[in-house]
Symmetry: none
Subunit: 160 residues, 2 copies
DNA sequence: GGTGTCGATGCAAATTTATTCATTAATTAT
DNA sequence: ATAATTAATGAATAAATTTGCATCGACACC
């Protein structure tokens, strides 16, 4: 049906161009554009479009269009276990860990860790061949290793 | 009762390892792992972790951990309250603090901190976008924030 | 022309999720 | 230590979302 297709398009456009925080709000916006529908229908539309509801700092919640090709890490394509090959060792001290890398690799590896941004890791700082990693309070060494292992398989074997 | 951080980790793990389709379901799963909490708390946890609810063909809906690339906030603010404008966030862990900055800003901001040399701050180390700040023993988190706020107004709002 | 099927939709109920309020526990300041 | 703040949480409630059911209109077929 013609109207529905246009409406879906309008929904996509609205959702991606501004922060919509509830379905009722979106119904109003659609009405301003000449679409007449109820929230129930919108719920079905959003499900059809796979629009997700995600927490947002500013507005509490917002709807987002699913990203299609997003699994890119620009600088390190198609080499998933590259990072770990640069790691020489990993050792803990309290809630800190020191990761020794091959010379010059520390920054690259740290940026990989940062880009994955695991909840467990508060932050990292890299020198030339050493990374200092600070883990969040209440997080165990095992937690850290597990979190990193998700994208750095084999890391466990490097820990002392 | 276990610690909140552990619960957040458990939530993260559960959500990423299976398709959870409602908060009540997740409350049950958490209970099986020994966490006792209500749906209200879980709602807050999910908001904190920015876990999104997304339509799923199999289960209707599911929760997903936020993906890496979604920070498309490419706004370049004015230098009015430099250097705090370069600060993304500040978070404490024990007597350390991790300050996240915009890429490349860490050294500049750290040197500003060093040049003011507040008594409360033992020292800083800067990477590219992260500063590790070590505070003196006996100094509270608030002390640190207050000291820094003297020349970095608005920093308090950046702390997590 | 009837009649059946199907997709779209509204209404209202059911379900799910978010928030308010009050209380308690932690942390920090005096 | 004691007071003052701040953070965490549950119970209850409000708000938001999903869904069952009935209807309507378009189309196909007899």
């Amino acid at each position: 049906m013609k109207i529905k297709a246009q409406r879906l398009l309008a929904i996509k456009h609205l959702v991606s161009s501004r922060k919509v925080s509830s379905q009722e709000e979106l119904v109003s916006l659609l009405e301003e554009e000449g679409f007449k529908l109820t929230q129930a229908t919108l719920s079905r539309d959003l499900k059809y479009l796979k629009v997700a509801k995600v927490p947002d700092v500013e507005t509490g919640y917002k709807y987002v269009i699913p990203d299609i090709g997003q699994k890119v890490e620009a600088s390190l394509p198609s080499n998933e276990d590259f990072p770990v090959s640069g790691v020489e060792s990993m050792e803990f001290s309290g809630q800190m860990a020191i990761i020794k890398t091959r010379p010059g690799f520390a920054n690259g590896i740290a940026s990989v860790i940062d880009s994955h941004g695991p909840y467990e890791i508060l932050g990292t700082i890299a020198g030339d061949d050493t990374i200092l990693l600070i883990s969040r309070e209440g997080v165990s060494k095992t937690d850290v290793i597990n979190a990193l292992s998700l994208f750095m398989p084999g890391l466990k074997e490097k820990t002392i």
